[in-house]
Amino acid sequence: MPVYTRSYRNYEGTFRRRGRWMLIVEQELRILVKGKIFQFLCLGAFLHWLLRLFQVVAYDVIMQDPNHPMAAMLQQAKFLTVNETAFFDFLRIQAPMVFLICLLAGSGMICNDVRNNLMEVYFSKPITWRDYALGKLLSLVFVGLGFTALPAIVLVVIHNLLAPGWETLTTTIWWPVEIAAFSLVIVLPFALGILACSAVMQSQNYAGITAFMILVANGVIAALLAGFLQEENYLLLSYPMSLDRIGQAIFHQPNPVFNLGWGWPMAFVAMVCLLCSVIITRVVRRAECAP
């Protein structure tokens, strides 16, 4: 005999009003981490981080010790130097991974809710379109930052622990800020773009393919324009190149990919973000009419 009775009972607990968007973030992350492909991509990202960890250890422990037997050999390998360039490269290499993860996690976020009629259910609860959109966006942003800013900042901390001292501290003091800023520049537009594709498409596959094609087509068009017109500034129209240019400015890198100042690519990225935000807002607000 079951220990429960099949009768309707009144709920006697309390309701509290806290950020409902946080619940949406939690739920999305809970679903995401159970996915096999996500776990596989995490492994890929973790391997890259391990390589960078090896670089930090090699630089701080071996190259700084002149008596170490491998020191002379590693002194030749300039690419092992831990500086702003190393972190810029780390984030640049993580960017395609972040794009793939956002694609995997975000391409179905809105269209699947629409297709499975979940919008009606969610908006019959006391949540607003802002809670919904913010929850979906932040879940992607947190995942993205988890693959960029978080591991990079951990590397900075490890670097400081392995080579403690005033000089390291003063050199690296702004690195976490630079890392966080560039990570956001990578993650936020990707997240917004993929969510916008998810909002306008009817299926996860179409949304994913559309986002991917836009990115590829955009790069190809910019490269063709720059090549045919012999003007490298047209590379500004390539989204990855624009991100690179902003990253170069943030990490004080020489030899920019094109000569225009960082303000132009920043404006381009901001414009894309704005456009995507408008699309997401329109679609989500259409589902929820309440102010």
């Binding site: 079951p2 429960y4 009775t5 099949r6 009768s7 309707y8 009972r9 009144n10 709920y11 607990g13 309390t14 309701f15 509290r16 009003r17 806290r18 409902r20 619940l23 739920q27 809970r30 679903i31 159970k34 699947n112 499975n116 009629n117 979940l118 009606e120 259910v121 969610y122 908006f123 019959s124 609860k125 006391p126 949540i127 607003t128 589902a287 929820e288 009419c289 309440a290 102010p291």
Partner: protein, 313 residues
């Protein structure tokens, strides 16, 4: 103050007028929203929820003006949508816990309440399986459970028996009837199936072409008609009718053996016995004539469409 107050509500989808001056009040109990497909029932439900804005008129729910007060109203309202709802990658337990949290329950409370509600709707061990593996009946139960999780004061159910087999349908209707009989819970059930509404509701609002064409209790709608009787006679039927006619009785309808007769104003069934006596016939069956809900519905649905409906068609 009524729980739901609608005053001259009009809702447009582009040029099409989906609701055309709907006015009604609902204050407790179980109310059926009855109408054919496309009559405006779902639009009315969505207007109550604040998904649709009324272009004219006012909508008040639980004392709040809609859609301005939608968030407060939704805290106390449960909604079971018409279409299939599924969160494929999660179990019913996980989905309902999440929904409970969206209402503001803490996770532990939401989890406990989830199991209570799932027990109530009769979803057994399947609750731990991913929802993508559920049958239509199971998904209907989950849909009802998500509407009940926060113990709402007002329950809006849009075609809750869609896609259910006869047993499942009856079980679902019993569940809903059970909720409707509880004090403090108002159920608004939208359906195009008369037996569903009759099973659950005490009052019915019939909608056609976006307008309320009938709004009354089922008891009143199916009450005996004034001065009308259903009669079955044995013997010379024609002479009985002649005799009855002489006594001022008119024959409204003849259906096989049954006669539907209207006695003169102020008269009773006695006049029919007199007619039978004069015609040397026997009355085998006599009862006051009642309309079935189906008849009332068919009558109400004869309401002609407005010019705007015809334009849209």
């Amino acid at each position: 103050m009524a729980l739901i107050e609608l005053e001259h509500v009009e809702v447009h989808y582009g040029d099409f007028k989906a609701l055309d001056g709907v006015s009604c009040e609902i204050d407790g109990g179980s109310v059926g929203l009855l109408g054919p497909n496309g009559a405006g029932k779902s639009t009315l439900m969505k207007t109550l929820l604040g998904f649709n804005r009324a272009s004219t008129g006012s909508v008040r729910l639980l004392g709040h003006e809609m859609p301005r007060g939608a968030l407060q109203v939704r805290q106390e309202l449960g909604y079971m949508p018409e279409r299939e709802v599924v969160s494929p990658k999660v179990s019913a337990v996980s989905f309902l816990t999440y929904v409970g949290q969206l209402f503001g329950m803490v996770r532990v409370d939401a989890m406990e309440r989830t199991h209570e509600v799932l027990n109530y709707v009769g979803l057994g061990e399947a609750r731990y399986r991913k929802m993508e593996t559920y049958s239509t009946g199971m998904l209907q139960r989950v849909k009802l459970a998500q509407a009940l999780i926060h113990d709402p004061k007002l329950l809006l159910l849009d075609e809750p028996t869609n896609g259910l087999d006869p047993d499942g349908r009856l079980e679902m209707l019993d569940l809903i009837a059970g909720i409707g009989q509880r004090r403090g819970v108002t159920v608004v059930l939208s359906s195009h199936l008369l037996p569903d509404v009759q099973h659950v509701c005490k009052r019915v609002i019939m909608v056609q072409h976006g307008r309320v064409v009938e709004d009354n209790s089922i008891e009143a709608l199916t009450a005996p008609r004034d001065g009308q009787f259903e009669v079955q006679v044995h013997g010379a039927r024609a002479s009985f009718l002649d005799a009855a006619e002489k006594l001022g009785v008119t024959c409204v309808q003849q259906r096989n053996e049954l006669l539907l007769l209207q006695v003169p104003e102020g008269g009773s069934g006695e006049v029919l016995f007199r007619a039978a006596q004069e015609a040397q016939t026997q009355i085998r069956h006599l009862e006051p004539a009642k309309s079935s809900l189906a008849e009332v519905f068919m009558e109400a649905m004869k309401t002609p469409p407005t010019p705007s409906d015809e334009d849209a068609a």
